[in-house]
Symmetry: C2
Subunit: 406 residues, 2 copies
Amino acid sequence: MKSTTRPSSRFSRRSFVGAGSLAIAAIPAAVTAEEVRTIGVPRREYGERSSFERSARLFPQTSTPGTGASRSPLADQYGIITPSSLHFERHHSGVPTVDPALHELAIHGLVERPQRFTMALLRRLPSVSRINFIECGGNAGREHRGNPGATVQQSHGLVSCSEWTGVRLSTLLNEVGLKPSARWVLAEGADASRHARSIPLSKALEDVLVVYGQNGEALRPEQGYPLRLLVPGWEGNVSVKWLRRLHVIDQAMMTRDEAASYTDLMPDGRARQFSFEMESNSVITSPSGGQQLDGRGWIEITGLAWSGRGRIEQVDVSVDGGATWSQAELQAPILNKAFTRFRLPWRWQGQETVLVSRSRDETGYVQPTRDAIIAARGMKEGPDGFNHYNGLKPWKLARDGKVTHV
Amino acid sequence: MKSTTRPSSRFSRRSFVGAGSLAIAAIPAAVTAEEVRTIGVPRREYGERSSFERSARLFPQTSTPGTGASRSPLADQYGIITPSSLHFERHHSGVPTVDPALHELAIHGLVERPQRFTMALLRRLPSVSRINFIECGGNAGREHRGNPGATVQQSHGLVSCSEWTGVRLSTLLNEVGLKPSARWVLAEGADASRHARSIPLSKALEDVLVVYGQNGEALRPEQGYPLRLLVPGWEGNVSVKWLRRLHVIDQAMMTRDEAASYTDLMPDGRARQFSFEMESNSVITSPSGGQQLDGRGWIEITGLAWSGRGRIEQVDVSVDGGATWSQAELQAPILNKAFTRFRLPWRWQGQETVLVSRSRDETGYVQPTRDAIIAARGMKEGPDGFNHYNGLKPWKLARDGKVTHV
């Protein structure tokens, strides 16, 4: 089981169906079924999903529905693109309605030529598209605290991946002209709470985008319509949505969401602040908690891996609770700071066991165990646990095929 | 203008805004606007686009709405992923409603073990995801005939690109066991007209997928829910939707849609049949017909290129009707048989001119002119023109900024 052979060679020419216990009805050589044939639904301007499909974002009912989060149904996702309709949400005062014809982005502060950019002007500027994940800094925090999610949506649903299109922030900063004392950029949203974060100028000039497109069309309202920041690989709340203002400054602004929130108290009483980067992570999405295998035999173990530090280099999967590991196949293209889909065919013999995945990114960083994270950062009381939790996520597979959290 | 320098180096540190005639209002160093601040919309289970967005598929009203096509609004698309809601449609008897719990795929004919595959079984098999375009064989046919589309949606809207997920057809054929005499596979849909096409076994084993996922979720009804064939790079109608049956045979079935339709009569009275491959193509999507530039100065010329033969290697853009050409920047990743986004910043001086793009794929094949196509294949009478038209598409830019077809 220590093998690192590729599944494609290990399993090719093997029968996946015949080897299992699944009953497959043989059919006559000529199919002669006489189904009813009626003319179907005509064309429509903007399509919708099938009424048989019920996959939904998950959120608890609360008295302040604008201040919460909704989680993406990762177990239902195929490939690496999260459907915009199912991209996770996090907002502090609900989703504002912003008229793109009136919306402007102001850039001011330590710049030579403060300017307002209309949406029409932004669309004339050189653009770029990138497939990147966005992950809430608090994703999987409950796993840290020992209150694991029963499903992968509950445990890891605050991460999603889209194709984003917009203008490089460096292009805009070049337009306004940075003053020599410029060091940080404060980004502020047009939501009622004016969510704001400070971003170091080095990152702003490296790969940050001002985004208006998502998965081929305009941003969805929950994702910042008509304009947001995209700060690749960093905790989601710095990718400020409904972006209205960039204030170039000489030191971090110390906003509420970088002082009171999104700062991690350490065991020695000090705090980690500006811990922006989301480290390498992975989770098995199928089989995962709440699912039910319909019989022993061949199945595909699949899941998602991602790293804020770059590309995923390897994902290993264990089908025996971490005793031994097999290298999963990674779906090409393997992109920088994007979801990477991994897959491993596995023949389940009906035994009770634990499935778990472990990612390594191109920097050599290996996804840690929960114990290692607690040893390094301690255990925080409270309902949410730490930000930046990326521990291994085990799923228990019972003899009856039921999958539960460990 | 014969330069092949990358735009990124040619234009870096250049001001795109200042060099044009666009008026940008300077703003005070401190932004003190006192907008109304109200709590926004709460979370929801399945998101929708903003009510400000009106992009729509286009189709004429006809008395037989199930037998037509709808065109994707390419001018509005960002990046390379076509939103599933805006993916072009083509169906011969409307969109059938198929219950995935009852749907089965039968494989029979020249096989050792004819079988029916349920959706649940298909999802247990080793899967793969790929970003591929699908193009109707008749796309842009009206351009051939000299009745060019006034917009890029009218001219080229029968092509779209998605991330598809499913099972390799070779995996399924391995399960059922091919007999030595097997040469072709007939694929049949569950629509009322039982649309059916024969596919050579060599292609079936090469890269054809049986697909259930599109852009991260289940296929949309118009795209074949719950199961379709994906035949990468080939004319769209062979990627049979609502796939219910694969009949392994020893010669092509000569169905209606490979004999009466999708066969091209040549000038010498013979016919091109089984002309599956979509050749290298490209079109400028912005500025494009029906659009209006709001002033001279820097704009981004952008568009899409694709080839059924492999990757796009180069796209050149002419801003003087084809007299001189500049190499456009291609957005990475450049994927096999997928949309490739190209971009070229250009400073419009206000003159009347013609914009046109020209693609070359990795086989060295260069997108031809309309004249070259007519010289090779002649001019067909009738409303639709030829299938497989991939001629250069020029757009006229007038002094007042209006863009029209040539």
